[in-house]
């Protein structure tokens, strides 16, 4: 079945599953099968911010004063963040939009991915402000072996799903001979399995990998260094907390069978695969910590502490989707991170758009002359 940008069939979208049902036709949001995705859209829109709002002039001075190994930690972390958001700024759209079947989920995917492009723009803003030649930093993302390893693991499941869905859309279900790949089985089961593993892998990317990078960014700010950068990362962290809510809901809805009973069977069958995705990612993040701190650690953070944080956050994220924690670390080794992650103090001035409680357009139009009766000039 090929994808249609406006499905001409008449059907009740409230009866469709999240994925692999009818292609969405009318973008309507007055009713939702899963209201959570509408809430996520509203929340994400209320969070809108732009990196240029944050002044980075002091960060440049701070960066020049950092020791060489600290510059390595800061720049490598920034390169990793750039990689992650390069993937996230496009992949939910490319992989999930052709197979989504609910209007609210379709728009959540677009809103989610768009916010990742703001994050990518932030890294450009930061890099442009702290180094003379941004190209050197950006080019290294593609050629650096340590970053390349991460690129493979964060894009693998997306790429598998995209390949399978494109075969499904052009050739339909069946066993297809693909040059250089041999026989590829395209069945609803293989498609749904690829989808389930992709969502799990994205959850790991946003709920674990990003948080490891946040820890590094905030460790500088704990020493009152690179504080403009930390302010931007705080805004990014607020968005990522929403995004991980989205993938946790998708996974939990799939597992519960409330959305698509066949998906619950697949979730059951794939449980060990998902556990492996989490455990392997944690191992990769620990190896990344070794690379970051290879030339020396910094006050408050080293490879061992960051490794413990990886284990700790992995346990928490596994429990959020009903999986048993796999690591012994029970306590947060860097409790100071919470004060940086907390969203409420992102901005205290209510006229600024990035305070989460500030709502645009909340003006009371129901006024008449009598409301000004007690005004004296």
């Amino acid at each position: 079945m090929s994808y249609s940008t406006f499905n001409r069939k008449k059907f009740d979208s409230l009866q469709e599953p999240m994925f692999f049902g009818e292609n969405v036709n009318v973008a309507r949001y007055d009713q939702q099968k899963h209201p959570i995705f509408e809430k996520l859209i509203e929340k994400q829109l209320s969070f809108f911010w732009r990196p240029e709002e944050v002044d980075l002039s002091n960060d440049r001075k701070d960066f020049l004063k950092l020791e060489d190994h600290e510059q390595h930690i800061f720049l490598s972390n920034l390169k990793y963040q750039t990689l992650l958001d390069s993937v996230q700024g496009r992949s939910p759209n490319v992989a999930l939009l052709p197979i989504v079947s609910l209007p609210e989920l379709e728009t959540w995917i677009e809103t989610w991915s768009f916010s990742e492009t703001i994050h990518s723009r932030s890294y450009t803003h930061i890099i442009r402000n702290i180094v003379n030649d941004p190209t050197k930093v950006f080019d290294d993302i593609v050629v650096n072996d340590e970053i390349a390893k991460r690129a493979i693991s964060v894009s693998k499941y997306y790429d598998d799903l995209i390949e399978l869905v494109s075969l499904y859309n052009t050739l339909g279900l069946g066993v297809h001979h693909v040059p250089e790949r041999g026989e590829v089985v395209v069945s609803m089961k293989t498609l749904k399995k690829a989808l389930y593993l992709t969502v799990a892998s994205v959850n790991v990317l946003e709920a674990i990998r990003f948080y490891v990078s946040f820890a590094c960014s905030f460790a500088f700010a704990e020493r009152t260094l690179m504080e403009g950068n930390a302010k931007i990362i705080k805004l990014i962290a607020r968005d990522e907390a929403l995004h991980l809510n989205g993938t946790q809901h998708m996974l939990n809805l799939m597992m519960s069978g409330r959305d698509d009973p066949e998906m619950a069977e697949i979730a059951q069958e794939c449980q060990q695969d998902v556990i492996n995705i989490f455990v392997e990612a944690a191992q990769q993040e620990r190896e990344w910590a070794q690379y970051l701190f290879k030339d020396g650690s910094m006050i408050g953070l080293n490879a061992q502490i960051l490794g413990q944080y990886v284990e700790y956050i992995t346990n928490i994220r596994m429990q959020a989707i009903g999986l048993e924690p796999q690591f012994a670390t029970k306590n947060n080794p860097i409790p100071w991170i919470n004060a940086w992650l907390v969203s409420d103090n992102v901005q205290v001035a209510p006229q600024e758009a990035e305070i989460s409680s500030y709502l645009v357009g909340q003006i009371d139009n129901d006024l008449d002359g009598a409301d000004f009766d007690d005004f004296d000039l």
């Binding site: 959570i36 929340k43 946790q248 809901h249 924690p325 409420d344």
Partner: protein, 96 residues
């Protein structure tokens, strides 16, 4: 044991016991559990403090809590979000 405490300045306050390991903390229904845990010196996780990030999720072993506003995070049975749950009876919790 849940008790009613008369306070001259405020109205009557219902106080519940929160058991956490060997610790016992007294809490009221005036605000969510998280700030009360923090005042009692308990190191508790948090991020958004408004129910969407699930960072403050802890195990609710027994007892009753309620959410004045339904949180956006998925709450599995046997778990609770400390940032936005009001304790409604004596409860026992454990950190993840």
């Amino acid at each position: 044991m849940t008790t009613l405490i008369s306070n001259t300045e405020h109205q009557d306050q219902t106080v519940h016991r929160v058991l956490l390991g060997k610790k016992q903390i007294l809490v009221t229904e005036d605000e969510p559990l998280l700030p009360q845990l923090e005042r009692a010196g308990v190191l508790a996780e948090y991020q958004c403090r408004e129910g969407y990030c699930s960072a403050c999720m802890i195990k609710l072993l027994w007892g009753k809590v309620s959410y004045p506003v339904e949180p956006m995070a998925w709450v599995h049975s046997g778990y609770m979000l400390s940032c936005c749950a009001i304790v409604k009876s004596d409860i026992e919790i454990s950190m993840l």
